[in-house]
């Protein structure tokens, strides 16, 4: 009885840990996306402040390539769009994982209680 309970406890704990890991991964991803979004917004602001005839270069690998200001603006806007979409996607996944985490925590604490009760019973018998 106690052994099977222990096994269940262990497998539940493993599951919880793996969910926790996933959760942390997504939180990290979210932070990175946030940083990218901020940087792109800053660049967009800066590009909007420029005169239309300003010279803009884009770094491609180790070389600087001249680029049209309008084109640069469009690229940055598109990037912002993409990143915002990604953030939404990551947010929904983190919310799901959070719920999963909570349900795992619940079952874990229940199992723990059962386990403790079983132990107390065993101690009483002996």
């Amino acid at each position: 009885m106690a052994e099977s309970l222990q096994k269940r406890l262990q497998s539940e704990l493993d599951k919880y840990k793996s969910v926790q890991k996933d959760f942390q991964k997504y939180v990290m991803q979210r932070q990175q996306l946030d940083a990218q979004l901020t940087e792109n917004n800053v660049v967009k602001e800066e590009l909007n402040l420029l005169k239309p005839d300003a010279t803009v270069y884009k770094m491609i690998g180790p070389v600087l390539v001249k680029q049209d200001l309008e084109e640069a603006k469009q690229t940055v806007s598109k990037r912002i769009e993409y990143i915002t979409g990604e953030i939404k996607r990551v947010d929904t996944t983190t919310k799901e994982l959070e719920k999963k985490q909570e349900s795992h925590r619940d079952t874990l604490s229940k199992l723990q209680q059962q386990f403790q009760q079983a132990q107390v019973k065993a101690a009483m018998k002996s």
Binding site: E39, N40, V42, V43, E46, L47, L50, A54, T55, V56, Y57, K58, M59, I60, L64, Q67, A72, V76, R79
Partner: protein, 154 residues
């Protein structure tokens, strides 16, 4: 991240307090690194602006040493002191004249300083919260120990 509803932490149990403490620790670490990075960024912008101040008309054509590596230099001449190329982020570089460049760096320094001023009070707030949490946690643990000892005696 902020909890929407007010919770009286003296009502919390020890494990919950422990979780709160861990969360606060993480947040403090995050804010501390952010603060450091912002300070580094601020320093960089200030330095760049100061370099631009040195680009006066009488430095036109003056000899400079261009670093090829960190320990090897080749002599060169300043050919254009009125325009500079500035990295505005995400791989974009813009050609600006010195005055615009100075304005750009001023703007950036202001931006970073503003964010610094935002993060600093947040960090202090977290420190205070952590201290309170630790105090409550300590009293709870001590109370638990006391009841256990009292139970052991009887």
């Amino acid at each position: 991240m902020a909890s929407p509803k007010q919770v009286d932490i003296s009502q919390l149990q020890v494990p919950q307090l422990e979780m709160l403490r861990q969360q606060l620790d993480q947040e403090i670490e995050l804010f501390s690194t952010s603060l450091q990075q912002l300070k580094i960024a601020q320093q960089k912008f200030v330095e760049s602006e100061q370099s631009l101040v040195r680009m006066t008309p009488d430095t036109d054509g003056s000899e400079i040493l261009v670093p090829l590596t960190s320990s090897m230099y080749v002599p060169g001449k300043l050919s254009d002191i009125s325009n500079v190329l500035i990295d505005i982020g995400t791989g974009y570089y813009v050609e600006m004249d010195v005055n615009n460049g100075k304005e750009y760096f001023k703007r950036k320094t202001d931006y970073v300083t503003k964010n610094l001023e935002k993060v600093q009070p947040m960090l202090q707030e977290k420190y205070k919260l952590k201290q309170v949490t630790m105090e409550v946690l300590q009293t709870k643990i001590q109370a638990q120990l006391a009841t256990k000892q009292a139970a052991a005696k009887t």
